[in-house]
């Protein structure tokens, strides 16, 4: 944000439209077309970034990851594993229907059934859902589940209007979209743009802008060009290679903040390779120059990780140090493991949807060549890549994980628990009894201090046994025109645009 000049426009008051007659339109360059606004049928970021403006959740997670009231004004655990929510009474849906506990019930029951987002709310016990009155509802979990409330703040659990969903049938989410959020759905031209208009009966603070236009522009450099030419006010996901261009442009601002994601090089224990030996894995971890990867491939975006989750996530172990780049140490470790000159070969799979990961695969393959390990890189279509990694085909693979719930459970359980082999997330087929034990304990306890302890220990073990080579934290990188004020990143990558204000052009 640029300070004085823009703020003056802001000072003139909420009704910007009245002043100059021109509606204030915020143009956002989004990297992909949304999939569907039936938010229970998708969980992709391009959709969420728009849907978040349309739907509200019961609980809101602030940009600082605090849980604050959303559509629910207060909540308490009335019994073990049973929560009672008091709902706002002044809320109407975009179709004019009043917001009631029935909509919440409908939404949650439907969510549990959803194949796409079911895993986010699978802790909910559908039998326990009970509508007390129009604005009170009780929801229980089948087991003690620490991060339950955090999961309810996930944008995918935005509250739907039962009537609208039922009436629209197959069209829901495509031409009919009804939420309670600050903006209401206007139009979606597939592949081109989605527009939303300010919802005047919004229960919260009315947004200053009248309209948001989300333009789908897949190519990152074109997004930048749009931003430069003024065709976009906000461009999401600036490519690392384009960062200097934004920074050097005095009319643009680059915003990059860490998010909940992390990148890793998975070392699979599934196949009978030298990777089954800890020393070999450690050697590989030492052989890869993560700093150099961050500098050259990611243009400095991100920090080297010391473990599988990053510091924004609850449960982060801040005692661990990143594994340092040390080729000699790597060679020594290999020798200790019985491979003095390397002399074996490993496959490395990478999905073809990320230029950066493809580059990393090349850096890794060169780095391992240094210590005598031959790497056969397999570049694959994303879906095929996920499939083959899930069945343990690759010896090594490049992937990332975003702990959207900001809780270590989500950031560790799917990835390192032996229950999560394959599809569920543990694609390295890593197995450690102690880790399983601790992850189970962390999952089914609400004692946050104990949980923290458990998770710290898990990270220590993983740091030692390196089923992953920890690469870098991911960052949200957005290019902004200096006209834009108030925009802030949310670590999950979907940003609240209702607070944004715009200078006149």
């Amino acid at each position: 944000a640029c300070g004085s000049s823009g703020d003056s426009g802001n000072g003139s008051g909420g009704e910007a439209t009245a002043d100059d007659g021109e509606p204030k339109v915020l143009k956002v360059a989004n990297g992909a077309d949304p999939v569907t606004f039936d938010i229970q049928q998708t969980n992709d970021q391009a959709t969420t970034r728009i849907a978040r403006q349309i739907y509200d959740t019961l609980i809101v997670q602030t940009n600082d990851l605090e849980l604050v009231p959303g559509l629910a004004t207060e909540w308490e655990e009335v019994e073990d594993n049973l929560y009672e929510f008091k709902l706002r009474e002044d809320v109407t849906f975009h179709n004019g229907e009043p917001f009631t506990a029935n909509d919440v019930e409908f939404t949650l029951r439907r969510a549990v059934e959803s194949p796409t987002i079911g895993h986010i709310v699978d802790s909910i016990d559908p039998d326990s859902i009970e509508v007390i009155d129009d604005h009170t509802i009780r929801v229980g979990t089948s087991d003690t589940f620490g991060p339950f409330l955090t999961h309810l703040s996930h944008p995918a659990v935005g509250i739907l209007n039962e009537k609208a969903v039922e009436e629209a049938g197959e069209d829901y989410g495509v031409s009919v979209v009804v939420g309670t959020g600050p903006f209401e759905f206007d139009e979606w031209v597939t592949g081109t743009h989605v527009t939303t208009n300010r919802y005047d009966d919004y229960w919260g603070d009315a947004p200053e802008i009248d309209r948001i236009e989300f333009n789908t522009i897949a190519d990152p450099s074109v997004r930048l060009i749009e931003l430069e030419s003024g065709s976009a006010d906000i461009a999401y996901d600036i490519a690392p290679s384009d960062i200097p261009a934004v920074e050097e442009n005095s009319e643009l601002t680059l915003m990059n903040t860490p998010n909940l994601g992390s990148e890793y090089l998975g070392l699979s224990l599934h196949n009978d390779t030298p990777l089954r030996e800890v020393k070999v894995r450690q050697a590989i971890a030492h052989a890869v120059d993560v700093e150099a990867i961050i500098d050259t491939v990611y243009m400095g975006v991100g920090d080297q990780m010391s473990g599988p989750i990053n510091e924004l996530v609850f449960g982060f172990n801040d005692d661990l140090e990143p594994i340092e780049y040390d080729v000699n140490k790597a060679k020594d470790l290999l020798a200790e493991a019985g491979y003095p000159d390397g002399g074996f070969s490993l496959s490395l799979y990478v999905g073809d949807n990320s230029q950066e990961r493809i580059r990393v695969s090349q850096v890794v393959s060169e780095a391992l060549a240094e210590v005598g390990i031959t790497v056969e890189v397999q570049q694959m279509e994303w879906g095929a890549f996920l499939d083959s990694a899930a069945v343990g085909e690759p010896d090594m693979f490049l992937l990332g994980w975003t702990t959207v719930t900001t809780d270590a459970d989500y950031g560790l359980y799917p990835l390192f628990h032996s229950n999560s082999f394959g599809e569920a997330g543990n694609r390295t087929f890593y197995e450690n009894e102690r880790v399983d034990e601790l992850l189970d304990a962390g999952r089914y306890s609400t004692d946050q201090d104990q949980r923290l302890e458990d998770y710290r220990e898990v990270q220590e073990i993983i740091h030692e046994e390196v089923p992953w080579v920890f690469l870098q934290t991911r960052e949200n990188v957005t290019g902004l025109s200096n006209r834009v004020h108030g925009f802030e990143h949310h670590p999950t990558g979907s940003y609240d645009l209702s607070v944004v204000t715009l200078d006149a052009e």
Binding site: S221, I358, V363
Partner: protein, 300 residues
């Protein structure tokens, strides 16, 4: 030599020297007089040498990285600069010749063999099998070849072999049609009947009489076919469906350089230029061959 003295020969004499279905020596004689075709031929030879001796010629290794030297503009140590991982662009371009020539030639071989068999069978035996084959070709032709190639590569996975198959398949109908029409016109000739009268069987007739007589259009089409196969391969590489990225391939290089187009133009400029020259060379050679074989078909 004869060549230079004959250069100023007038049109009429030229006609006289021209025998429609000349021997190879005559075609070569014609071709040698065509400067553009010779340029094409020499450039192709040059590329072939680069491809074969890439290890000796290239100043750096194909995968040789120097992360601290990334994105250097052309300079004296790296004549054409370095890419985002600090690899030498010139060296990668030289190594890239291998992939492009291999894919170009092999893909044409695939479509030539399969298309050839289909075309010969269709043209020689006619009847329902001809109809069947030609309808199959119509079907393949009505799917844009790049889409077909994308779909095949996407489904088979991208390695050299699959790339060749994908590109090869999409130009099968072109070869099948050309060869079929060649076979049909040659089969009408009385010398085929003469061979039958001597007791030759179908195989002998096809290989000894028909194929040699349709060789010229096949050669011309192959030359042009290599040009378009290289373009297709590069196109696939460009949209990220090419080979694994550490292998130097021109299309992949363009794709990787695309993100830097604003600041580091040379990443896309030089490989692109080389692609264009290569394709141009094959087209020039094809044009020249066609002119040499049949002067009446000039530039058609």
């Amino acid at each position: 030599m004869l060549l230079t003295s004959k250069k100023k020969i007038n049109q009429a004499e030229e006609e006289m020297l021209n025998v429609p279905q000349g021997s190879w020596a005559e075609i070569w004689y014609e071709l040698k007089r065509n400067r553009r075709a010779m340029f094409g031929l020499f450039f192709i030879l040059f590329l072939t040498i680069m491809a074969i001796f890439a290890d000796q010629i290239a100043p750096y290794g194909m995968r040789e990285q120097n992360l601290s030297n990334a994105l250097q503009f052309p300079n004296t140590t790296h004549w054409l600069g370095t890419d985002d991982l600090g690899r030498d662009i010139l060296s990668r371009m030289i190594y890239g010749t291998r992939v492009s020539l291999t894919v170009g030639v092999s893909a044409v071989a695939v479509s030539l063999i399969i298309g050839g068999i289909l075309g010969v069978v269709a043209g020689y035996y006619k009847g329902w099998i001809d109809t069947l084959i030609m309808r199959f070709c119509d079907i393949l032709l009505s799917i844009p070849s790049i889409l077909l190639a994308i779909a095949i590569v996407a489904s088979l996975g991208s390695n050299l072999q699959n790339l060749i198959i994908a590109i090869g398949i999409s130009s099968i109908p072109v070869f099948a049609r050309i060869i079929r029409s060649g076979v049909i016109s040659v089969k009408e000739q009385e010398y085929i009947e003469a061979s039958e009268a001597l007791g030759a069987n179908d195989i002998r007739i096809i290989f000894k009489h028909i194929l040699p007589n349709i060789l010229s259009p096949i050669i011309v089409q192959s030359s042009m076919g290599i040009a378009s196969a290289i373009l297709s391969a590069v196109g696939l590489g460009f949209i990220g469906l090419g080979l694994e990225a550490s292998i130097a391939e021109w299309g992949t290089m363009l794709n990787a350089g695309r993100g830097y187009i604003r600041t580091h133009y040379y990443l896309t400029l030089y490989p692109g230029l080389l692609i264009m020259l290569t394709v141009l060379s094959f087209n020039l050679l094809g044009d020249g061959l066609r002119d040499a074989i049949d002067p009446k078909m000039r530039e058609r």
